[in-house]
């Protein structure tokens, strides 16, 4: 037996230079990141906001060090994909210091993670954030005593107000390791000792690596094999198996249980909760939003307000003002006059102000139709995100989602899909099984309209009245349920448990809502407008080469015959390949021009809602699940959208 692991403790490793933020989901890591770096990163009130690692710079002791914001974790023995990411970062290289951001009002849970960091033997400080909410609930924590017990500094902060964060910055300068260790059962302690000699020497403490191996962490196991050899791993598995024989529960759980109980005892020593503190309005409202009866009217109320705001204020009042008055009445005629007067080349004139010209199409669509709609939508959406209502919605729809082999948690990426399907596809990582991730990705690509598209659709529906709204909603929901149900049977694998943390209802901060809305609008302008312009250019070229007319003729049996739409709608579907919302805007313009009957509008709406996902979304699907999956999904969705549209067309004709 050799004794590699023993004389090489983490203290001997050269300190790294990065500052790493870790913590449970939704505890305010991203707000702290913003405070430390001075840069804004997306902050929302639901677990899983940060899915990618975010890097920035922070000045420590006169230097600027890299700082990393990681996805929230419940444990450093990961269960889900996003938890893996955080573990990998900690294992990859020695940090300068780890900042654990914790929730002050859930001290035992926070300490569970602290204890793992202590065993990892990385230098860290503990930041108990949301001190305001803890205080409101009558919780007081003795940070000095906790700091002494841990051997590392502990702070209380209120990140959104910036209270206490100055101390945090100073503390980054003096990294210290914690000396506190969980005392496990004697049998476990013995096994940990027995494992230690087989471990490779690293910057990570042997107790953490040992207990991760006892818990059966595959990633750590591969890591050990790579650093040592198969032999070492075989020895370790043997130790684990004989320890497991002592317990009738998986060791992963036994270890967690003992760590949790240790954390409870520690929390009891350093904190106290005055139970006389009454419940706040947020808690009372929170109860109502998931109430078996009260929750439903609440949900409808939220929908109704969204509709009023986006569908009426955005898509009608503001679009009227901008499209009809500003662009239709002033800008477009003025530019047209100017172009005709000053640029005597017909093809350029056509390109700029002709029927498929840049100004009447790309600019009018993106600034006069889509922009007002997405602005109002992003405002409502950011408000909902920050209020903490979205996870509660998951509770309300859990049953419904069960019929699709999913659980309520899947509603989070779907709702985010209303913002942008591409980003939502990445958020599917918060789901636990690959099967669920694939299913939700498919449903997103198929039927969840993104903000711009939804806004345009709401605008058209407002135009048609409640009957159309019901039919549209009914067809889309039924289609999604049907496809969800079937996909649960086709995609191999299994679903997962519904265990979801419900953050407290908070009154959103106006500044955060505005910042998020502006960030999203900028994204829209940068990413979407160029695509709109590209789409227009393509249409223009096709039109000039008379290919457009050919396509319209070729597609006529499908568009005119099968869907019963005017031939001009072909253009909208064509540009829909670039972005569904652009297609929707095309239909919107047709509808406003009075070129379609109400039933035709309805059919075209349903078809474009289900139409092929936008290019960015296909690319992201390819990145996350491979090109074949992306192709297969698109190949299914495209004909399927027409099929549903066609069926609706015939149904409407039958019942008319």
């Amino acid at each position: 037996m050799n004794c590699h692991g023993e004389n090489n403790t983490p203290d001997d490793w050269p300190a790294g230079e990065s500052v790493i933020l870790v913590g449970h989901p939704n505890v305010g890591k991203s707000v702290i990141f913003g405070v430390l770096t001075g840069h804004y990163v997306t902050v929302s009130n639901y677990p899983g906001t940060t899915i990618e690692v975010i890097r920035g710079r922070v000045s420590v002791d006169g230097r600027t060090d890299p700082i990393i914001d990681t996805p929230g974790v419940n444990s450093l023995f990961p269960i889900s994909e996003d938890e893996r990411v955080t573990q990998r970062i900690l294992l990859a290289e020695p940090p300068h210091i780890v900042v654990q951001v914790g929730d002050a009002k859930n001290l035992p849970r926070t300490l569970m993670l602290t204890l793992q960091l202590a065993e990892m033997e990385v230098p860290f400080i503990l930041d108990l954030n949301m001190a305001d909410e803890a205080q409101q609930r009558g919780i007081s924590i003795d940070t000095t005593q906790l700091g002494q017990t841990l051997g590392t500094p502990v702070f209380c902060t209120n990140a959104v107000k910036g209270e206490g964060t100055a101390q945090l910055v100073t503390a980054l300068e003096t990294p210290r390791r914690s000396t506190l260790r969980v005392s496990y059962d004697p049998e476990i302690e013995e096994s940990l000792l027995a494992i230690a000699p087989w471990l490779p020497a690293t910057h990570i403490g042997a107790r953490y690596v040992g207990s991760a191996l006892l818990a059966g962490d595959d990633e750590i196991a591969t890591w050990v094999t790579a650093a040592r050899d198969e032999e070492a791993l075989a020895q370790i598995w043997q130790i684990r198996d004989s320890l497991q024989a002592h317990y009738n529960r998986p060791l992963s759980y036994v270890l967690n249980e003992q760590r949790l109980q240790f954390a409870y005892r520690l929390a009891d020593q350093v904190s106290r909760q005055d139970s006389s503190a009454g419940s706040s309005w947020g808690e009372t409202l929170g109860r109502w939003t998931v109430h078996p009866i009260g929750g439903i009217p609440f949900m409808l109320l939220v929908l109704y307000i969204t509709y009023k705001f986006v569908g009426e204020l955005g898509a009608q009042t503001m679009v009227d003002l901008l499209e009809t008055r500003l662009f239709g009445g002033l800008i477009n005629p003025w530019i047209a006059g100017w172009v005709h007067a000053w640029i005597p080349i017909p093809i350029v004139q056509d390109f700029l102000v002709g029927p498929y010209g840049l100004v009447p199409m790309a600019l009018t669509y993106s600034f006069a139709i889509v922009l007002p709609i997405v602005s109002t939508f992003f405002l409502v959406f950011s408000f909902l995100e920050d209020s903490g209502y979205l996870p509660r919605l998951a509770v309300m729809v859990n049953r419904l989602f069960k019929t699709m082999g999913l659980n309520g948690k899947a509603v989070l990426p779907m709702i985010l899909g209303l913002g942008c399907d591409t980003m939502a596809t990445m958020t599917t990582r918060i789901l636990d099984s690959r099967k669920e991730r694939l299913q939700v990705t498919l449903l997103l690509a198929l039927g969840v309209p993104c903000s711009a598209q939804l806004g345009v659709i709401l605008g058209m529906i407002a135009f048609l009245g409640p009957r159309a709204a019901l039919i549209w909603g009914g067809v889309i929901i039924a289609t999604m349920l049907g496809v969800g149900y079937l996909s649960a049977r086709v995609i191999p694998g299994r679903g997962s448990d519904f265990i979801l943390e419900l953050p407290p209802i908070r009154w959103p901060q106006l500044s955060n809502i505005l910042v998020k809305t502006l960030a999203r609008l900028e994204w829209y302008l940068r990413e979407v407008v160029p695509l709109f312009i590209l789409g227009t250019v393509i249409l223009f070229v096709l039109d000039k080469l008379t290919i457009l007319q050919l396509i319209q003729r070729l597609a006529s049996p499908l568009v005119v015959g099968f869907l019963g739409l005017p031939a001009a709608a072909t253009d909208a579907f064509l540009i829909g390949f670039l972005r569904r919302d652009y297609g929707a805007a095309g239909l919107f313009a047709l509808a406003r021009a009075g070129a379609m009957t109400p039933d035709q509008i309805l059919v075209s709406l349903v078809t474009i809602t289900l139409f092929v996902p936008c290019i960015a979304n296909v690319l992201i699907i390819a990145k996350e699940y491979g090109r074949r999956t992306a192709l297969a999904m698109s190949a299914f969705i495209f004909p399927f959208a027409f099929l549903v549209g066609g069926i609706l067309h015939f149904a409407l004709r039958m019942f008319a």
């Binding site: 759980y253 109980q261 998931v290």
Partner: protein, 165 residues
């Protein structure tokens, strides 16, 4: 089956309805073989059953008057059967699924922790310390709890010692 009129208890096979009655299969009519009463059995009505279930559910949801839990102090019951609104202490988790156990314990649910059931529908909502969790019925059925009495176990706020600010 019990006759709503005379109270005579009888078996389904004794039903006194005409065998040729076109409605005889699956009808809700009862014909008492004792007194000859013919009427609708309210218990066989789907609507009534549905109505009663809702009423029962509502009563269970908002039952603040129920004093601390039914049964003995140490008899552990699944959390799903524990009255809402009362603190309880977890005695054990009956699940055998490793990932489920691991997740629950990472969220603070393990023997000794204090939990409070808030509602059953549309999903179980459980408060653990100051954290609210939504759970499937199946999982709530695997968390066994006893009524909170005395200071045994960890995590009890009352039993705590130590200095503070």
């Amino acid at each position: 089956m019990k006759c709503p009129l005379c109270g005579y208890e009888f078996d389904e096979s004794e039903l006194g309805c005409e065998a040729e009655c076109p409605l005889s299969t699956d009808c809700q009519m009862v014909c008492c073989p004792h007194c000859g009463f013919q009427g609708i059995d309210p218990n066989s009505s789907a609507v009534v059953g549905w109505f009663q279930r809702i009423r029962k559910r509502l009563r269970r949801e908002g039952s603040p008057e129920v004093q601390n839990p039914p049964g003995e102090k140490h008899a552990a019951v699944p959390l799903s059967q524990f009255p809402t609104g009362h603190w309880a202490r977890v005695t054990h988790l009956a699940s055998t699924r490793g990932s489920r156990l691991q997740r629950l314990s990472a969220l603070g649910i393990a023997p000794g922790s204090r939990v409070r059931l808030q509602q059953h529908h549309p999903a179980y909502v459980v408060q653990v310390g100051n954290l609210e969790l939504a759970l499937d019925a199946e999982i709530a059925g695997e968390i066994f709890v006893t009524a909170e009495g005395g200071n045994e176990g960890v995590g009890s706020r009352e039993s705590e010692v130590g200095s503070r600010e």
